[in-house]
């Protein structure tokens, strides 16, 4: 009905003015313009932007400055680890164990019954060792964002490759690849990741790799189902009839046209993986103390839940907000990329 009138995208061959009115409804710019119209997606984008910025600053302040301070030129300038924090915020203090942590400038507070939140010095209070919760959350952001993106990236790239090849060729290739993926899927997720880390090492890197590998089937199945329908489109056959090689058909036609749901899933998956790796850290299989990670903060707070619930609540809120941010953007992208809605 409504399409009856809109299907004939109008313009006269020689009508130069009408030409400019026809909007291109594909490509990055169009997708962004669609996202911009969607308030929830914008909220998601804002949250992700904020957390990413925080993560970048934290990364620069800790890792980058630590490396730079080893170079004479920068050391002479006074560059050192936590330079920004020291200048504008708190000074680090050496723990007896030798690890650096951030502390308020005015010494330790009561370790077992830390401050209530809301003081000027510690807006979110301090933890059981008197460490400032806000600063630990701040530096924990980079871990959350990194693990989310890296683990999803691994899953997305490998999953897309596996799924696209399986879907395009079909037959025994499909059978072999997809049965393998399903085998992976059949093992309980956490058991798989924990077994992987037990075998290779209990640190963040293997947590990311493990979670990435364990989520390959999600992406492989998703893109395969899209490829199966894209493969039947006439333009694929047209490319074959034109003599285009299979490899180029997959890369230039099949994957780009199957990618929209993968992108949506990837955005959602970043949030999920942040949650999973926080969970692993909670279990002791992720970031090791004293590295400030949200999951590990949650883990160490659990003994103090009654006397000081804030200690658990703040990392929980940080995880929640970040995950919700990715979910909102994912939903917004789903709408923006959905061809049915566009038409």
């Amino acid at each position: 009905m409504a399409t009856d009138t809109s299907t004939s995208t109008k313009f006269d061959v020689r009508d130069a003015e009408a030409e400019e009115k026809v909007e291109a409804r594909v490509g990055l710019r169009y997708t962004l313009s669609q996202v911009r119209r969607d308030p929830t997606a914008l909220a998601g984008l804002f949250i992700i932007g904020l957390t990413t910025t925080v993560a970048l600053i934290a990364f620069v302040d800790s890792t980058v400055f630590e490396q730079l301070s080893k170079i004479g030129f920068f050391a002479n300038l006074g560059v050192e680890k936590y330079w920004l924090a020291k200048t504008f915020w708190y000074s680090p203090v050496h723990e007896p164990a030798g690890a650096e942590i951030l502390r308020p400038p005015f010494g330790l507070t009561n370790e077992l019954y830390p401050n209530r939140p809301g003081t000027l010095d510690h807006p979110l209070g301090t933890d059981h060792r008197g460490r400032d919760v806000l600063s630990r959350l701040f530096y924990g952001t980079q871990i959350a964002i990194t693990v989310g993106i890296v683990s999803t990236g691994i899953a997305m790239i490998l999953g897309t490759l596996v799924g696209a090849v399986a879907g395009y060729y079909g037959g025994w290739v499909d059978d072999a690849l997809m049965r393998a993926a399903e085998t992976l899927f059949a093992i309980p997720f956490l058991v798989l990741v924990i077994a992987f880390m037990t075998a290779f090492g209990r640190n963040l890197m293997f947590a990311m790799i493990g979670v990435g590998i364990a989520t390959i089937p999600t992406f492989a199945r998703l893109i395969r189902s899209r490829v199966l329908s894209v493969r039947e489109e006439d333009f694929i056959e047209a490319a074959r009839a034109a003599g285009v090689r299979d490899r180029n058909i997959i890369l230039r036609h099949v994957v780009p046209n199957s990618f929209a749901p993968v992108l949506v899933q990837a955005t959602l998956q970043v949030g999920i993986n942040i949650l999973i790796i926080a969970g692993l850290s909670f279990l002791g299989y992720g970031a090791q103390p004293p590295t400030p990670s949200w999951g590990q903060m949650l883990s160490s707070s659990r003994n103090y839940m009654l006397p000081n619930p804030w200690f658990s609540i703040w990392p929980g809120v940080a995880i929640l907000v970040t995950v919700v941010g990715f979910n909102l953007l994912g939903d917004g992208l789903r709408d923006a990329l959905d061809p049915r809605i566009n038409n």
Binding site: M1, A2, D4, T5, S6, T7, S8, K10, D12, V13
Partner: protein
């Protein structure tokens, strides 16, 4: 001539989209007499389907019937009146949605769609769908309804109707499914059937079977039809009178023979000249140049002037009146300034896609430019 069965006057339907108001149907008028097959013909985007769903009041958001009258016998299906502040509002005579559902749709006016697969629910047996429809609309018992359903299936030429009753839609061929829909449409013995491109999805031999069937059934039951199609061949084959639509308007209305042999509107004429013939060899086709503009921003004056081979300056300014040009009964109505006294004869020819230098639709070939 007796009172027409259905009268459509100045019907207007608009779609309120983000880009603006689409005037999909813009003031069409026609009537359907008892036992008559009236064609509604036009290219895609002309507004044929919107017109029929407006008559049935089945236009969905963001579309809305915004003006005009549709009268079925004594019932007002669509009616508007002036409110106290001069705004247009629904007239109190207009049937309520519930009345449309219980009294009109299915019982008095039935509709057959183009795609029979979409109109049948794939998870229910064909016979049961037909039976349920009869049960609801004719207030008969289940057993009676079943009997009527089997009879109807036989009537529309379904082989082994008793056995096929228990089949699912996917077990039927396209032509058979369309027969089932015709059975469903006929089941409540309506006075008017709106057929929306019912044979477009079918093969030519099956289309022939269906057209034959419709003609037989029409002779038997005296049902009137509004036959929506884009195929001039089908029009010639089955219609008594024809309305030609272009961009939301009816541009010509005539008896089928007059439409083909005494064509008045340049669009109809161009359309007839552009189709290849199965019964004779045509060396060169004469296409209509250009593309139908969008209804969101129709050309001023006559809507066809941008593609019209006879377009003159005046066509851009004057919106042609839709009027009878022969004075005979039944009337032959045309909407073209040629038949008006607005100075067409003295107007300068207009440079359009059709009249300009770009004849033939192909930019002049310039020899061996490649290799």
């Amino acid at each position: 001539m007796s009172e027409p069965l259905l009268t459509v006057e100045n019907l207007q339907t608009q779609f309120f989209t983000e880009e603006g108001v689409v005037r999909a149907v813009d003031g069409i008028s026609f009537e359907v007499n008892e036992g008559e097959i009236v064609g509604l013909v036009g290219e895609s985007g002309a507004g044929k389907s919107v017109a029929t769903s407006s008559i049935m009041r089945l236009v969905e958001n963001p579309g809305e019937v915004v003006g005009g009258t549709v009268r079925y016998r004594d019932e007002v299906l669509v009616g508007f009146e002036e409110g106290p502040d001069g705004e247009r509002r629904r007239s109190p005579e207009m049937l309520s949605e519930a009345e449309m559902r219980t009294r009109i749709r299915g019982r008095e006016i039935a509709i057959i769609f183009q795609d029979p697969m979409e109109s049948l629910n794939p998870v229910f047996k064909v016979g049961d769908q037909l039976r349920e429809f009869i049960e609801i609309n004719r207030e008969v018992s289940k057993a009676e309804a079943r009997e009527i359903a089997v009879d109807m299936l036989r009537e529309v030429g379904i082989p082994e109707p008793e056995e096929r009753y228990d089949d699912y839609p996917h077990q039927f061929s396209g032509g058979m499914r369309q027969r089932v829909l015709i059975a469903m449409a006929l089941a409540c013995e309506p006075n008017l059937i709106i057929a929306d491109e019912p044979t477009t999805a079918l093969d030519v031999t099956v289309e022939g079977q269906i057209l034959d069937l419709v003609r037989d059934l029409q002779a038997k039951y005296g049902t009137s039809f509004i036959w929506v199609t884009h195929d001039m061949g089908v029009v010639a084959e089955i219609c008594d009178r024809v309305n030609v639509m272009y961009l939301g308007e009816i541009v010509e209305q005539a008896e089928v023979d007059d439409l083909f042999y005494d064509t008045k509107h340049p669009y109809t004429e161009a359309l007839l000249r552009s189709i290849p013939r199965p019964d004779q060899t045509v060396e060169e086709l004469n296409p209509i140049e250009g593309v139908m503009p969008e209804a969101i921003n129709p050309p001023p004056g006559c809507r066809f002037h941008t593609r019209c081979p006879d377009a003159r300056e005046v066509c851009r300014r004057a919106h042609p009146a839709y009027q009878d040009v022969t004075g005979d009964e039944p009337p032959h109505r045309v909407s073209c300034v040629k038949y008006e006294d607005v100075g067409y004869e003295d107007s300068d020819p207009l440079e359009t896609a059709a009249t300009g230098a770009f004849g033939g639709g192909l930019v002049e070939a310039r020899g061996e430019s490649d290799e």
